[in-house]
């Protein structure tokens, strides 16, 4: 820096540039490093201690917190619940969103209204959505009442109290809240694909399904990747809605990794153990991102992206 300023002319300008870069970039960088990246590093640091968050950080326990996590039945349930939501999202929610995007990808009267309505749940907070659905799903409330009125009383379940049903209920509500978001992304992707390509294929004798499968779907690849990736990251940190609706119960049946982390770190003051759980969430995200990138890159080389057939 001082070596630069010793010279003149060109260096005066590059010094001015350096000052601009510093002044413009530093505030954002400091805020980001302090409140986003530094805490992630700290989580790794805390995770090898037994620590209640208050006393000095001196009880080093190595990887014991991780061992505890993988021996904990509650946390194992949490992991399998998060993975279940990821799988169901990819298998059901995204194809469903894509189907609706395809239905809306054509001009017709009322299209704008449908698009407006489908996206409404996305702007509601997850916590508030959870409160509304908790009321709807109470015994003898709207859902049960409607089923009975339709003569389907046999389908009535303890939607939130049955350990075998509760995650399915959660998934349906998550889909209610987020399919509009994916639909909007995919609709934007579809509108970027020239319609002539599909029509040319149809004229050349391809069926509608073939035209979709071999023309539209591959061209939609980049948007699908974004959609799938956001869905996976979101599923990994599922918290708000489940916490409000069941608190992870009954009997941990709807536990998630983020709920385990919250309970350990905040409720039970096991900051070290909670941090280990945070690191595990991070590792899941990392592995998914890397595996996904490999998988998708290979697929791209082959010229087709098929999340659905896989």
């Amino acid at each position: 820096m001082s070596a630069i300023s010793a010279r003149s002319g060109v260096d005066a300008r590059s010094r001015a540039k350096l000052r601009t870069v510093t002044l413009f970039l530093l505030p954002a960088l400091v805020l980001y490093l302090l409140f986003v990246l530094f805490p992630v590093v700290q989580a790794a640091h805390y995770s090898v201690f037994k620590w209640n968050g208050l006393e000095p950080l001196d009880n080093f326990v190595g990887l014991k917190n991780y061992e505890t996590a993988f021996n904990s039945d509650a946390f194992k349930t949490a992991v399998s619940n998060n993975l279940l939501i990821i799988v169901l999202s990819l298998a059901i929610q995204i194809p469903f969103s894509l189907s609706l995007a395809l239905l809306l990808n054509r001009r017709f009267p009322g299209r704008a209204a449908f698009r407006l309505i489908f996206f409404v749940p996305y702007v509601l907070s997850e916590a508030i959505t959870g409160v509304v659905f908790t009321l709807l799903l109470q015994p003898h409330a709207l859902v049960d009442g409607s089923l009975q009125a339709a003569g389907l009383g046999g389908l009535v379940q303890h939607w939130l109290a049955d350990t075998g049903i509760v995650m399915i209920t959660m998934f349906v509500i998550i889909t209610w809240k987020y399919f509009g978001f994916h639909m909007i992304l995919l609709l934007a992707g579809l509108q970027g694909i020239p319609r002539e390509l599909e029509e040319a294929a149809l004229i050349d004798g391809a069926g509608r399904w073939q035209a979709f499968r071999y023309i539209t779907l591959p061209l939609l690849g980049p948007t699908l990747r974004v959609s799938v990736f956001l869905s996976m990251i979101g599923s990994l940190q599922l918290f708000d809605m489940v916490w409000v609706m069941t608190g992870g119960g009954p009997l941990n049946a709807s536990n998630t990794m983020a709920i385990s982390m919250f309970k350990a770190g905040i409720k039970n003051q096991q900051m070290g153990y909670g941090s280990a759980l945070a690191v595990i969430i991070f590792l899941f995200a990392l592995v998914l991102a890397l595996a996904y990138q490999r998988f998708v890159l290979r697929r791209d080389v082959e010229g087709a992206l098929t999340v659905f057939n896989g």
């Binding site: 017709f108 702007v123 209610w176 948007t223």
Partner: protein, 301 residues
């Protein structure tokens, strides 16, 4: 290939003249399309409609006859209590807390991200792409990972139980997406414009403030709207960092209201409906920016 495609354009896929779509005969597939879309719209709107109308019912009506659509009689007291009466103090305090946090966080996110995106878009310097990549990393992992250490950090700097302690991390979480969306917009503004401004005596900040930002107003509207929605709905961070009822934001407030009034469902519904009104009103006004912003974000692979 290209020639074929362009002929097809003119022959087949020219958009119909305005009004032509309405005059066209309804094909069977269109009917199926409408039926499916109407069912899905119903599934979206029924829970919201149930909550709105439920707020006008008595608890006896809600429990005794869960499927009847309209209240009889209509009871206004649940809603008026939330806005003006018994629950008004709680509601307005929570709305004010949400508003304060959102204002601080969104101003910081958009302000600081604009400055950073300007540098990333228009100034070449060593390490630029590395620092940019550092920011994009923020999108790749769940923000929940940072929550517990944030709790420690905020307590250490004495900001726990302070709305600013929520707003600052919230602003930081919003930076990556905002920078990623703004950068290409800032890049697309011609260099000649900047040169001309410089010749006329404009400083770099002067160009940024008086020329670039006004030109990028649509992009700024988009990122602001996205940041507002994100901050307004945040739950885990305020849940951990705020430690008293007088600091709660609306999502926390609704959850606690529901726990405190378990036996008074109609009141919970009224409180919930009033609490989501700002978000819905905001969405109806800013739909174009929200949808446009998501679209812009999705273009990046």
């Amino acid at each position: 290939m290209t020639t074929i495609t362009s002929t097809k354009t003119s022959a087949i896929s020219r958009p119909p003249l305005p009004g032509a779509a309405n005059r066209r005969r309804v094909r069977p597939f269109d009917l199926v399309r409408y039926v499916i879309l109407l069912i899905v719209a119903g599934v979206i709107l029924i829970p919201i409609g149930y909550a709105i109308l439920g707020g006008f019912k008595s608890n006896n009506q809600l429990v005794g006859d869960p499927v009847s659509v309209f209240p009889s009689p209509w009871i206004l007291s649940n809603y008026t209590d939330v806005v003006l009466g018994a629950n008004a103090l709680v509601f307005w305090r929570e709305a004010a807390n949400s508003l304060i946090i959102a204002t601080v966080a969104v101003t910081l996110t958009v302000g600081l991200a604009s400055l950073a995106a300007f540098v990333f878009a228009r100034i070449v310097f060593p390490g630029r792409e590395a620092i940019y990549t550092l920011f994009t990393l923020g999108l790749l992992f769940p923000s929940a990972v940072a929550i517990l250490p944030l709790y420690i950090l905020i307590r250490q700097v004495g900001l726990d139980g302070n709305l600013l302690g929520v707003a600052l991390p919230q602003a930081a979480f919003g930076l990556p997406l905002t920078i990623i969306i703004l950068r290409p917009f800032f890049k697309s503004i011609p260099v000649e414009l900047e040169d001309a401004a410089k010749i006329d005596g404009c400083s770099t900040f002067g160009f940024f403030w008086r020329i670039l930002l006004p030109l990028a107003r649509p992009a700024l509207a988009t990122v602001s709207v996205l940041a507002i929605v994100g901050t307004w709905n945040a739950f885990l961070l305020p849940l951990i960092l705020l430690n008293g009822a007088d600091q709660w934001t609306l999502p926390l407030g609704v959850m606690n209201f529901a726990t405190e009034h378990v036996s008074d469902q109609a009141r919970i519904l009224a409180f919930t409906v009033i609490s989501i009104m700002p978000a819905i009103a905001f969405y109806v006004i800013a739909e174009k920016q929200i949808v446009g912003g998501l679209t812009a974000g999705s273009v990046k692979g």
